[in-house]
Amino acid sequence: MEQYFTIFISAVVVNNFVLTRFLGLCIFFGVSKNLNASIGMGMAVTSVMTLSSMLAWIVHHFVLVTFHLQFLTTAVFVLLIASFVQLLEMIIKKQAPALYNMWGIYLLLIATNCVVLGVPLINADSGYSFSLSVVHAIGSGLGFALAIVLMASLREKLRLADVPKSLQGLGIAFILAGMLALAFLGFSGMIAL
């Protein structure tokens, strides 16, 4: 039980995907302009990440490990996630049109994102069990959601601030992300895995 909790906390704050590992930066900067969009993105990433790491674990464990083809992990996972997101998009579009209107555009952005690929790869590398992989994926997703929501709230406030002309837009966003990352550095060393 303790191990689950440690992995969860570590994934949310200590090894936060965006602010410590610097993965998934394109959506982090692209969709953090307004708070509502960032919440939608955070939820979409969390659910896609969890579902795809379940699937990835099954494929890794029963196909790749059985045939001693672990060196193919990255290639297979890329294929797997891209097709899984496509599938998920179709299902959501048919079964839950309201959810599709909210998430549809984000789902396609996630299809080829490194943060979604990163979690199954780390799971496979660390040799997590199925349940540990799921907990790690949920934690990572929530960590991503936390980072993007924080960033979006900051950038909404920033719109009213008097930013020097040369730094307006992405420039100040990068500086802000750097400061957030510094703040998250405070968590490092809290948990040793």
Partner: protein
């Protein structure tokens, strides 16, 4: 078995299985979308201005195709050509539409109008207007922080040196977004080709208006007395022009020459307006 053959087999199988699942899902979860919606959406100007009252161009396209009660004329930026095309596609009759263009009802820039205080807050008209109605002495004039410019979905506005918005007649579609966001209600939609416009929004009494701004309308009524067609009225010390009467009857505007402060003026860029009028006529035919 040779590893490379193994790799080939596994990758092929994985790809094949995913491919089959996706192909199956594509059939199984196919959503029927009326193809007309996409065609209508392509015709719309894609400014996402919301002037139609729907969330965006796609939402309006969906509504106009699926709901028989939604008229095809709601897209204001698209003007008549779009309304006609949408009407034709959806089998609805497009009633007459009057093309409009945005007009700034204020000419009291930095050099003409006095200021009560120096504003150093957020660069936004709505924020500035919360503070004693804004820094400008005249409580009805343009604050000049460019909220309308920032909100223009068609990039048709810019700020002049004097701190007043300039409208690009060629780009302005008359969607009315600027009219909604302006806290002072300075922006107004006027019919394209209106020969005269009142460049003032001040409802103050003449003496007060004069003191606050050198180019304000003082409500003297000279324009009203000089108009042979009765198109100009004075209400609340402010001249109001009924452009439909002007467009119909006026050939030689006398009101503008007689105005003592120059608040009522011939419309700027009349040439470009007549051109765009011709363009619209050409598009309609």
């Amino acid at each position: 078995m040779n590893t490379s053959i193994m790799v080939l087999i596994v990758m092929t199988m994985v790809g094949l299985i995913f491919g089959i699942i996706l192909a199956y899902a594509n059939k199984k979860f196919a959503v029927e979308v009326n193809p007309l919606i996409h065609i209508v959406e392509d015709i719309l100007p894609k400014g996402q201005c919301g002037a139609c009252g729907y969330a965006g161009c796609q939402a309006y396209a969906e509504a106009v195709v699926l709901n028989p009660d939604v008229p095809p004329t709601l897209c204001i930026p698209g003007k008549k050509p779009v309304a006609n095309m949408v009407g034709e596609l959806t089998g609805k009759v497009a009633p007459e539409m009057e093309p409009r263009v945005a007009h700034v009802r204020c000419s009291g820039g930095h050099s003409k109008a006095i200021k009560n205080y120096k504003y150093q807050g957020i660069e936004d008209c709505v924020a500035a207007s919360l503070l004693q109605g804004g820094p400008k002495g005249c409580q009805h004039g343009c604050l000049g922080f460019g909220t309308c410019v920032k909100n223009c979905p068609f990039d048709a506005m810019s700020m002049s040196e004097e701190g007043l918005p300039i409208i690009d007649d060629k780009k302005c579609t008359g969607c009315g977004k600027c009219e909604t966001v302006c806290p002072k209600h300075v922006m107004q939609m006027v019919p394209i080709g209106a020969p005269v416009t009142v460049n003032c929004n001040s409802k103050d009494k003449g003496a007060v208006a004069r003191k606050l701004c050198t180019v304000s309308c003082i409500g003297c009524g000279i324009c009203s007395k000089n108009c042979p067609h009765g198109a100009v009225k004075v209400e609340n010390s402010l001249a109001i022009v009924d452009s439909s009467i002007c467009l119909e009857k006026c050939t030689d505007p006398t009101c503008t020459a007689k105005c003592p402060t120059g608040a009522i003026v011939p419309a700027i860029g009349v040439a470009s307006i007549t051109e765009s009028k011709k363009e619209i006529a050409a598009n309609t035919n």
